[in-house]
Symmetry: C3
Subunit: 342 residues, 3 copies
């Protein structure tokens, strides 16, 4: 049931704002890491266990850029090499903890969990709009979800659940039986739907004045396997040509979800939103609250699904047309896992 | 150690008073069910998992007599057939959840967990005194017990524990070394004991005035395998011929226990009492409190036994004469399990 | 990973002060025992399960020196023999619970978990200073530690962790790179270190006035396998010949740790301190608080290590010179386990 992890990938580790000159811990792909910022400002990530007695290094002390174990004082630099061992003129050569490459982008620290020789910081995800001054950023939470990360990924490839799960936030009134399309593009799956000539959805209220007119609304779900979803959604006044590509006068948002697989039964959902309107504390707070509510609605469903999946019984499963994106996305993750070298 | 379940049987599902027009859940024989009352007043019970992504149907919405899944809107009628699937002209034929026959009797909803073709509502248990106007009903609780249901069944076939466990409620002062008898009658085991010429026990105090005279007291434990115990107990003034069958002027109660096996380590004990005296709020409240206390005394012992049984070690066990009822009762359950077709 | 238990040994069971005429329970080497004091003042320890239905005897009633089961009244004397069974003229010969030899020494009840024929109360541990009127006793706690008892034993063979874990209590300022020595003596490992011409450590402050002079400090860790650590530590004014054996005018303490292995992942650390100065409520309370703080510092590290050891992964381990004591101590426990007959 559980898919193998794709180790050769950049995973979100922590918000940059949460990593400083203290030892902190994160769990990724079933590994516990001790994480800290060096004096030079980069981020170090090491296995959180001293190879002597397995005391977590995070219980120790940061000395310059090195970590001193809190039990016997073995000290490791940020490459994981032991630079000092008590009572020994030089540390044993075998004293080494694994160090993980990191990089920062979009306010997040990213970690490479596979073969370090394959880690290329240039491949860390960065949405162009993040550097576009006409966009403002609303940073959200780190939401823990007690479900397999691919179940959350299913959810983030899927426009059809919105009307059932997010009645008060992301859905318009009434059913939305418009056609969903999708396609694979390399290691990405794009899924999209248009709703033509409908009312503004609740989260867009107050962002732009369309004078009460109906809008055309789009949802493009870009899933970058294995752990990134970017949902491009927006609205323009009906009849102004948005479906044909004219979005000069529209509301546009990119909801970015950076998923950390913790283990096979839990993940951390980091999210932020880019919007093509200036930062505004009141508007941004309302948007953040509204999305927080929506993502907790998903969490509730996904955790209940996980509890059913954990039961020791066979299930007869039904597949629907809407599963196409999920099937493609999971196939990409399988391919990435098979070619990984952890 | 764990006995197989007897699927072909009616099991207590919920108090009728607790099943209405909302989706609720119950767990029976390791299956989670979504339970609700139809517009016509009958009770529907379905597997609580949508066969698409395994979201619990209980998180969805009741629409008429059908349940709409809260994730993607698949809709199932109360026979478990899918009547609507999003984005599809007609639902896949394979989209089906299991539906369980139900019936109501004695204020309880009962569910048939085996082959539906063998379900006969005429066989649902009903004690004749439940419809006798000279009896009044005191409905009790749904008491969760973290023990195998057959361990609770042992307890409800067993008059000899009373003096050790229920010193302040159901026992009279002093040891009760009177003879216990038992016999199998079809799929029922009856176990009984008489105590001749003794004082009134605490729970009977105030129900009838015997002028301080001693009484003859009987206990008949009727265990209807696999999940129903009816304890007929009462007292009549000594010398008036109760042992010979004359109970014209007596206190008589039927303590009915309807046990829902939840899994191999827990069950739900639903209980009610019938007594041959009119309903009286003060008397009934006192009786309910007293029995609640007594059944919690059993719960404490049974849960401690379960914890010992769960330990990974071998036990040398001793069998006593009083185990005769339990052995017969468990043999009946084994027979019922062997002939079941789940 | 888990070492077999050495059954043929005396283990600490409970503080003598905590065992009286009530039924209490203790868990030792994965066995639950019911423990009580007899009318004659000795301590009885029986398996805490009635062999009839496995009800814990500790839920029953102490009747004289016998225990009556709280479910059906089977009664066992303190040798574990059943002396009464309900409804039977004499109890079945097979009705027997295991009884464990006990003894008392140094304020503790000790229990023999192996073959009772090998139990020799004369071998129960007793430190000579416990009976020396120039010493006073400070009895500490029963500290539960969620770690394998041998991990705590490692800690109690190890002078080198002090400066990293106990900065504010047991360590002096600065590193202590003095030489650690150790040797096996029968079933005991002794590990020691001297610190010459250093400041008084915090826990010794106020016990003796050295006029601000520096001291020579010793630590002798006597580990009596499998479960007793006695740490002889003290200080004398530098230059008065303490290293050569002259300790006429010194602070001397024996920190005694009596470890009860509960199961492979938890143990109970009973500790007391003997000191060569009179009992003094204020001084003793301060000493107790200080040591309590120190032992909780160890607990925090040891429990974190256990959580790492419990992870389903392989670890590359490093061995250091300081592991010599631990290796010898664990070898002794293996030898004792191999020759035990549980």
């Amino acid at each position: 049931m559980n898919a193998a992890f794709a180790y050769d990938a950049w995973y979100p580790l922590a918000w940059s704002r949460d990593v400083g000159r203290e030892l902190t811990t994160r769990r990724v792909l079933e590994e516990d890491l001790v994480v800290y910022r060096t004096e030079g400002g980069s981020v170090a990530a090491l296995d959180d266990a001293c190879p002597h007695r397995l005391a977590p290094l995070s219980l120790g002390t940061l000395r310059g850029d090195a970590v001193e174990c809190g039990y016997h004082g073995l000290t490791f630099d940020c490459s994981g090499s032991c630079v000092s061992a008590p009572g020994m003129p030089r540390p044993p050569l075998s004293a080494q903890v694994r160090s993980y490459p990191t990089s920062e982008s979009m306010g997040m620290v990213w970690v490479w969990m596979g073969d370090p020789r394959r880690a290329d910081p240039a491949q860390v995800f960065r949405l162009p709009q993040y550097d576009d001054p006409t966009y403002s950023v609303v940073e959200g939470d780190a939401l823990p979800v007690q479900a397999n990360y691919l179940s959350l990924a299913d959810n983030l490839c899927d426009p059809t659940h919105v009307v059932y799960v997010h009645k008060t936030t992301l859905a318009s009134a009434g059913r939305e039986e418009t056609r969903v399309q999708h396609e694979r593009q390399g290691n990405k799956v794009v899924t999209w739907r248009w709703v033509i000539d409908g009312p503004l959805i609740p989260v867009f209220q107050g962002l732009k004045d369309f004078g009460g007119a109906n809008v055309d609304r789009w949802h493009y779900y870009h899933y970058h396997a294995p752990c990134i979803a970017v949902i491009d959604f927006g609205s323009a006044r009906t009849g102004t040509g948005a479906p044909e590509g004219n979005r000069d006068d529209c509301i546009q948002m990119y909801a970015c979800h950076f998923i950390t697989p913790i283990d096979q039964r839990s993940c951390m959902q980091h999210w932020l939103v880019l919007k093509n309107s200036p930062a505004d504390p009141a508007v941004d707070a309302r948007l953040r609250d509204s999305l927080r509510l929506a993502f907790n609605e998903d969490k509730r469903v996904l955790e209940a699904i996980q509890r059913n999946e954990d039961k020791p019984r066979e299930w007869k499963r039904v597949h629907l047309a809407l599963d196409g994106s999920s099937i493609k996305m999971r196939r990409i993750v399988e391919e990435m896992a098979a070619s990984s070298s952890a």
